[in-house]
Amino acid sequence: MKFGIVVFPGSNCDEDCHHVATQLLGCEAEYIWHHDTDLKGSDAVILPGGFAYGDYLRAGALARFSPVMESVASFAKKGGPVLGICNGFQVLLEAGLLPGAMQINRGLRYVCKDVSLKVENDATPFTSLYPKGSVVTMPIGHMEGNYTAPPDVLDTLERDGRVVFRYCERDGRVTDAANPNGAARGIAGICSREGNVVGLMPHPDRCAEKLLGNDQGLQMFASAVAAMAAR
């Protein structure tokens, strides 16, 4: 099992993802420089968090033009698992691999804190090890996580079960108070129609070890390993 971790200029969670894949799961992982078009035989591709191109202009808006993105798109089209975390999610939206867009948080400030998330789709390659309907805690850290899309797109996402994670209270109730950034319908993460492309604002890479106080994010990476093993 090999993870390919895309490195844009300004990515800064690439090493965190590499650490989870190699040190915690014993998988192979390789960095893929944004100029490369070869995914180096990756079984799954991660677009990590950070500030690709400084998030200048708009988060993800420049990174989508990196040569590597064409390879990522064709990998996804063939059913390859692609995970976009935080800035990686923003890049997936800008690249059109997932629908919708990000606005600045409704509080107009960067927010770094733990949030509760309801797992609504356990059929993706990154969520199969979470029981559907379970509540997990993960940290967020972003300025632009206020997800938005036209109402019909949101309806389609809901109808097709493509909302993967939703912000909620600790007991699973979806409330406005539990929504840290104003995202439409409390959406924290979504997937593509086929389910193989997943994007989320929270950081599973930052909560994969007990020593750091929380290991609930490890299951996202472990799910991918299980999904690959099952193929």
Binding site: E15, F51, L211
Partner: protein, 738 residues
Amino acid sequence: MTITEELIREHNLSDEEYGRIKEILGREPNLVELGIFSAMWSEHCSYKSSRIHLKRFPTTGPRVIQGPGENAGVVDIGDGLAVAFKMESHNHPSFIEPYQGAATGVGGILRDVFTMGARPMASLNSLRFGRLDAPRMKHLVDGVVRGIAGYGNCIGIPTLGGETTFHRGYDGNILVNVMNVGLVNSDRIFLGRAEGAGNPVVYVGSKTGRDGIHGATMASEEFAADEASQKRPTVQVGDPFTEKLLMEACLELFQTDAVVGIQDMGAAGLTSSSFEMAGRAGSGVELDLSKVPVRETGMTPYEIMLSESQERMLLVARRDRLAEVLAIFHKWELDAVEIGTVTDSGRVVLFFDGKIVADLPAAPLSDRAPCYDRPRAALAPPSAPFRWQSEAEPADYADCLKRLLASPNVAEKSWIWTQYDHMVQSNTVQRPGGDAAVLRVKGTKKGIAMKSDVNPFFCAFDPYRGGAIAVAEAARSIAATGARPLAITDCLNFGNPEKPEVMAQFEAAVRGIADACRALEVPVVSGNVSLYNETDGRAIPPTPTVGMVGLMEDVSRHVRVAFRRSGDLVAVLGETRDELGASEFLRTVRGRDEGPCPEVDLDAEKRLVDLLATLAERSLVASAHDVSDGGLAVALAESAMQGGLGATLSLEPGVRMSAFLFGESTGRAIVSFPPEHEAAVRALAKEKGVPFTAAGWVGGERLTISAGSRVVIDEPGAELAALWRGAFARALESADVL
């Protein structure tokens, strides 16, 4: 151009200093040379008023790899690893333009650390603001926090909090002190030295613009009212994305053996980097300024040498490896240009358009920089004992506690630190809000604790003790997490050194820090001095910020502030004296800004530090918390609130009730532990010579404190927590400027 008296004044040089320049050169300087001397001999770069006193600091120790004088200090942590760290001020620019001032402060300290070959691991900041209702103050708070966040978050270095205090003494001069700690292989440390005649001098990073010209000189002057807004052109603009590229490129470069020396272009830009690198190596350099990448046409040699544009580095490469060096920077899409060569002439010679525009000896600019033993007034006696002895005690202690928990200095500051990415790099073991931040060191079992500290209110009444207490309190906080202090950096913020009373404060604070460092065996490995923090002749309270780094061998044994289990026992370690002077209680509840500063017993502090670290190492305690601002009652409330648990505590005061609850006697901590560990904790405290007082137990939903037979505080924990957590945001967001 002839050098006139007016030009000399404009360059902030005294007649005596100008005379010294002529003596060194044996002639009149030209304008470029005058600018260079002015920057190098500014207070900011030359430490001319402080140097003579800084010699007091102990700077060596078995773990010290690099002491003061380089870009950052380096301390060995074993396993072939070391930590590089430093603290710096960006006070003047942050007051003028808070976002960019604070942001570039972060950028500068990061460069100081990664220049050494270290990957920056985490930042802290020590912020001092005026009263929230002072003019521009909420704007400054908001801008500084956003600036720190904007830079640190983007570059991907976690900001693990720090400390923030508010006082009228900072109404006209806020303080922004930023600290960074990096991790480096102890055999791959890089220094700022221009060695090897014939080696190329390479300029890398952002292009040079007209921003920040004379920043170092500006930071060495007082403000007059309304002047701050006119100084804006001297504040630099930060670009964290470019710095991220620069950092990654440099760290990639350090994997090779192609670099001889490297230094960031911080204050006084190309001037200080070139002269210091040549000066340290005893070599010389020749630079062709026409080759420096510039942002706009028409820039003069004077502007190029004095620009403080951000995100630039100067390095010396091995001649035969130049192509490799340039290739790495070009991969990261950065400018990298050979602008000159190292010589053995001992001179810095600058060319522009084929003509020599400056020709100066390198070493004398540093070695023969002015050094003043400025006159010092006798310090005011450590203030007459406060008259509270004769005052009536408050009627309602619970009300006092609530007012303290809601005061901006004590209230929880998550409004600030949730704006900082404090988790990137996935090493954060203890997030902001604890006694000290704790990081794990990947690939080892070790942990690093870091803390910035000073109580300026103590320093205002007794700078000697205040300086000593800053070190002691940082050590106590570090030890409470389970780490042992390694070394400190410092950032000494004071008023105008030409005033004898300010110089007296400075000298006393330095002496206090030095004595405490000796007693606690923590050397000073780097630091910074910020003087002239005055507006309209009013100086800030003396604020010698201490940044301490500690090491724990087994990070899994780290200890938090929060109570953990119902049924655990609580004990107070150390002695509570009859002290209320300079306390938050006195200021917030009594509205009186009076001393005296509490006493400090450095031997007792050392014993307590050893006890706290040992308790953690043996996994005897469930929680530990240093007692400081707001006293014992606030410390107990914080452990309870952070743990989401109540506590029932019963103590014999032994001193006046308000001093018992809210006094800020030094040398104390509170710990909790399971009942089966009580005998061991007591025995260890006795062995280490630290007074142990059983205080009660953790549990229930109320915080109940009895003194003797009298219940003095009995409040629902959740209500206290709501007050403490919400107070700071409410105070800020009631403002319309945010």
